[in-house]
Symmetry: C2
Subunit: 217 residues, 2 copies
């Protein structure tokens, strides 16, 4: 019942972190539907995992449930949000203002209260100065001062694959330490920089492989 939630144990599996995102998604919908309490099994089922998995995942961060009852939806959302560190705003910048970039700008502003894109950049000189969703497209040369002024840690790369490494180098040079990369390219970065890759084809390949295997040929 304290205000802060410190991890109880040293190591928390990455798999757990990724699942918390799903729990939060489902909890938001339960909350919208005015559900006040949920127990691990129904929550787990909605998320496509086992009840014991949910309980173990949550237990890494604290004791959020009530035995014999379940979890308070609202307070569990708050606990997860706090555990993930998304209970305050994370400013971000985006580089690569194509279709995907535009889609991300929209998607983030619509669905993610904790994240906010502060400025957008493009390596293509013809795009610089354009106005996109109220943002002015800036030159990559302005990234360092932007990062410093706004205390930005996270950069999003939505440029074409040919330009992704250049975009990445700009970000790293400016002191960005976390990158979300949508370009279908592996990035070379120093060990101090963490990259998360979003690769739709990975998911498509997985679907196709399982279609081919599952065999209804």
């Amino acid at each position: 019942m304290s205000e802060t939630y410190e991890p109880k144990s040293k190591h928390i599996p990455q798999a757990t972190i990724k699942r918390l995102s799903t729990y939060l998604q489902v909890l938001k919908n339960l909350d919208r539907d005015k559900v006040e309490v949920v127990s691990s099994n129904p929550l787990a089922e909605a998320c496509g995992v086992q009840g014991s998995q949910v309980r173990k995942d949550l237990a890494y961060f604290g004791e959020f449930g009530i035995r014999g009852v379940g979890y308070q939806v609202k307070s569990l959302m708050q606990s997860i949000t706090s555990s993930l560190g998304i209970d305050h705003e994370w400013p971000m910048l985006l580089i690569g203002v194509g279709n995907l970039g535009r889609a991300m700008i929209n998607h983030v502003s619509r669905h993610a209260s904790a994240f906010s894109i502060k400025a957008i950049f493009d390596c293509d000189p013809f795009k610089i100065g354009d106005s996109v969703y109220g943002y002015e497209v800036l030159s990559p040369s302005e990234i360092p001062q932007c990062v410093e002024k706004m205390h930005i840690d996270i950069g999003i790369i939505t440029s074409r694959p040919e330009r992704a490494q250049t975009a990445c180098d700009h970000l790293v040079h400016a002191g960005i330490t976390a990158i979300l990369n949508f370009a279908p390219v592996r990035l070379k970065v120093p060990d101090s920089v963490r990259v998360e890759y979003v690769d739709f084809f990975r998911n498509l390949y997985s679907l196709v492989f399982n279609l081919s295997q599952g065999g209804k040929s």
Copy 2:
């Protein structure tokens, strides 16, 4: 050296399938740079995994390497493509023609030779009839005949979260058996239907959690 590549062992880890996508990505770039042979260690490093991991992953599908030498880049690409089942075209349909939908239409046509979006749909009556990148936006009521006529197995959902379950129901009803869902919602589907979720926030949460933990506070 035969034309078909049958899995040697029964069970192939999903993790392996997901990595093959990365290997393919890196191999494409090596091929573009006229590299003809690569051994497991450099390939692994470019992909952010161990050499032994690459060798084990590939060995699930056959013996593609030459001892003392490495792997032929071109033929390995072919082998992976064939192993994944993406050596022929997979027709798909897309439902939800917003920003994200548009971005996906582009992204798929630009980067994925094996996949092709055959038709696009939207639940919003005001969008039906619009022309987007040369496609006419169709009504969901036309999905079943489209699926049957074009032998489509895969549907992509890029609609708003509120409409995602409806979109999904349309797809399932029409006989779609594999869904790539971009909406931040868990879908209820019969066991026979496989869903892959693309959730950017999952990746962002992971970055943030590791930033918060890694502690440079």
